[in-house]
């Protein structure tokens, strides 16, 4: 196994393309190193992207943010503007692991590891975040919800990797929130995760909404029906209830050691309601 530390996007792409499918990208390594030690993956080349400056920066872009794919959870937390605009996204990333894990774990890794239970992904989906992907054929931009195709599987082709995540500009009266359910209080894996993002007009009517749902299907879901239940309403209890129904209807969970179908479905609605109320409160504050 070779370890490579390219300093440019092009160099990384060249290394990945040359390895012909037997390369792995190393960001924080909090998934990859665990998988290496367990013998689940045996790559010929490990390409560490942390020396590529674009992957390590948070910059303002078009009124929103460009977040390097290898920015750690702890760094996101220390970025006041990002936290002010996208509190739900930051709190989702902050839920990952413990203080120690936060010093390494990245949103790029969380997304590309393609676990259906990844915490930051439903929040990124709710935020309408997109990925800037570099590859042998140049760059492309893809919405977060289109990256994963199943557990451990992504659309990334040979030689491709995510350079940055783009968070759009925030209109006034917007708010987002992410909640997950775990049996413990930390160091656990989401049984259900829900991200909600809302934008209100001056009169308190919801003019835009997105709902992302994690751990209840093979990939994190964008639930448009849930968002539709909120748009055009004052996000009153009736609308929230309809949204919760739509969330439950979208669930296609499996029965496994981490939760039953019935439990996951029921709790997804509960968390969606709670996340929605937090997002609404935040929208009211801005």
């Amino acid at each position: 196994m070779r370890y490579e530390v390219p300093e440019t996007v092009d160099a990384a792409v060249a290394l990945l393309a040359a390895a012909n499918g037997s390369a792995r990208i190393l960001a924080g390594g909090t998934d990859l190193l665990v998988q290496l030690r367990a013998g689940l993956v045996e790559p010929d080349v490990v390409v560490d992207i942390k020396k590529i400056s674009q992957t390590r920066q948070v910059t303002a872009q078009d009124g929103g943010f460009r977040v390097g794919a290898a920015v750690t959870g702890a760094e996101l937390d220390e970025h006041p503007d990002l936290k002010k605009n996208w509190p739900g996204v930051v709190e989702a990333a902050e839920l990952i692991g413990s203080t120690q894990v936060q010093g390494r774990a990245t949103m790029g890794g969380n997304l590309c590891n393609a676990s259906p239970a990844a915490d930051s992904v439903p929040a990124l989906i709710a935020a309408a975040a997109t990925c800037q992907i570099a590859g042998p054929d140049g760059e492309r931009t893809v919405p977060v919800e289109s990256i994963c195709t199943g557990p451990g599987k992504t659309i990334l082709g040979t030689g491709e990797f995510v350079v940055s995540l783009i968070l759009p500009a925030r209109p006034p009266h917007s708010g987002d929130a992410y909640l997950r359910f775990i049996p413990r209080t930390e160091m656990d894996i989401a049984v259900v995760g829900v991200g909600v993002s809302l934008t209100l007009d001056g009169a308190g009517q919801c003019i835009a909404a997105r709902v992302g749902l994690g751990a209840v299907a093979a990939t994190a879901l964008l639930v448009t029906e849930a968002a539709d239940a909120l748009v055009g309403t004052a996000v009153d209890e009736g609308a929230v209830e309809k949204m919760q129904q739509a969330v439950r209807a979208a669930c296609r969970p499996i029965d496994d050691k981490r939760g039953t179908i019935a439990y996951r479905t029921q709790v997804s609605g509960v968390l969606a309601g709670r996340a929605c109320r937090i997002a609404l409160e935040r929208a009211g504050e801005h």
């Binding site: 049996p183 413990r184 049984v191 050691k257 439990y263």
Partner: protein, 770 residues
Amino acid sequence: MAAVEKIIENRIDDKTTDSKALKWVGTRAPRPDGVDKVTGRAKFGADTHLPNMLIGKVLRSPHAHARILSIDPSAALALPGVKAVVTRDDFPDQPAGAVQPAGEMIINYRDMTRNIMAREKALYEGHAVAAVAAVSDRVAGQALTLIKVDYEVLPHVIDVDEAMGADAPLIQEDLITEGMDPAPEKPSNIAKRVEFGHGDIETGFSQAQVVIEREFKTRPVHQGYIEPHACLASFSEDGQADLWCSTQGHYVARGHCATLLGMDVSKLRVTSSEIGGGFGGKTVVYLEPVALALSRKACQPVKMVMTRDEVFRASGPACGTSMQVRIGATREGKITAGDATLKFQAGAFAGSPVPAAAMCAFAPYDLEHVRSVGYDVLVNRPKVAAYRAPGAPLGEYAVESVIDELAKALELDPIEFRLLNAVREGVDSSYGPKFGPIGCIQTLEAARDHDHYQTPLGSGQGRGVATGYWFNIGGQTSATLNLSEDGSVALVVGTPDIGGSRASLAMMTAETLGIELDKVRPLVGDTSALGYNMLTGGSRVTFAGGIAVVGAAEDLIRQLCERAALTWDLPLDDVEWIEGEARPANGRAGSEAPMSMAEIAKDMAKSGGPIVGRHSTNAQGAGPSFGTHVVDVDVDRETGRVSVTRYTVVQDAGKAIHPGYVEGQYQGGAVQGIGWALNEEYIYDEKGKIENAGFLDYRVPVCSDVPMIDTVIVEVPNPEHPYGVRGVGETPIVPPLAAISNAVENALGIRFTELPMSPPRVLAAIEQAG
């Protein structure tokens, strides 16, 4: 905040409540192993290395139950770098009936040799089938894949009630239930029936106005120690061997290994490492005899370390159970009868702690008519190992749940109801012996009067209490005090230090000798350093070890006085030992300047040579310990998640030698109980394989899951110990299961009769209750 106040309160108590002024006993001295532990210098099981060391790995059964038709290691042996393979053929079979008590469990060597290496059948997923030693971890791992095992997969059973059924697959084809009269003719999975009690149950129930009967079911749990099993074995060509391992008892491990390998016990020297938790799970051997057998074959040292996955699949657990309890009481709150039937999973070999569970179940209560029946049942799971107060938390979970329901039915405060029926000195225990001085009532009263119990609950919260009991044990123990030429002493003990025992044993030594604590260096010696020592278990070390070190200190004092008498040319009777120095006594008082330990030590060559204090004993008179726990919970009605918001442990310590470590035991037991009550369980698939063999999906509580556990140390001295010590390490895990279940009932009005009360189970129950 409350917890901090309590600690301060205890500190004041430490100084003021003692009649005899004690200098060290009862203080919070720093632990002698503390610096090494926080700096990473301490050596745990996996930290010993030797030149030419090989790595050993175990091939484990992928089946829950299968006959082993053949094992072919030839391809593995042909792999370059592989130095030895061992299988069942490398361990002599043991005679039937080779049984020996060890700690709180019974050891049967015929079973043990089958548990460390499967013989006729693999009896659980993870059962060791073969092992290799190779030059590296990678080669050893590769070699495992080359060992060919031919299995005939058999039907399996992992549920205790199913295992007791008439058509259950038989785990041991020739097992006839012990303890039945007449003995059954047909074999079954029921290894043993036990019964305890007195009076006549039906007479008792006929006197009751309220009778409550419930059935309970609990899942097996793992002890959850952080440090996986690890050892290093080195056999030499002449048949002598050394073993370094993480164990609760290196003498016991030595005996097991020598028996399993067919060697003289004294040819094997065992050194115990620092131990990263055991809780009973490191009282047995798994890797140790295998590493020795590999080393004997390879003539090189062999290191073996379990992965976490192996720890879950092949070590521990504590049993799962199925239990029925019926208790009757008069309208005034006097219990007239108690009856319990406890069915415990033993795992693949007989020997669950169901006898202890049956004995403890009703122990807190003074009952005229009481009976508890236990069944020890084989299932296709790893053989259960001891886990803090083995069995007691389970039986008391069932009994204390019904007691709580009775209190509610009788509209009595649950602590007052318990006080009406609690045992006191002189009462016949539910399982036989008459109680000596005990602190059952005192802990109940202290819990009742505690600020926690007096504080109103927040809305939606619930409060539960439960009382628990554990016997504690004594047993064989040796200690030596080697006087150095400067007057300092090396204290050598033979019990691995799990809970701070080096500190407390050194404190009792310094107290008895009348010297500064830092003049005593406590060490855990290897098996060649001392006479026999039973393992660290049964909450025995501060009790039995205390007797041994005080005995050794008295032996040392006697010799020091002899040397002074010789120097002064006085009869021994005219020399006394006061405040760490020899002084002329009686009519000769003041006739000579006192001689300190340092002065006597400096001249010991002249006065007769080296001075060594020794004591070996089979300590008797362990003091049982009662505890009462109070817990508050909050339940999220929409997700079923139970949060513990406040927790107080009240327990009788007899005498807290080191209050800080006593509190640590109380808190640790409560935390393990919280995990057991709320989230810990093994999840099996339909083939009998464990699906959650890791800490991600086997959920022990993390720090943020538990509140600061408040503690109250009650001290009802044990007259059989020089400083009044009872054991304290096990009782703290006995009450939590029931206390938390009772708190959940108090919050929701729903009685749970199954553990764990995990969020899906709690939510389902809430939805069902509508």
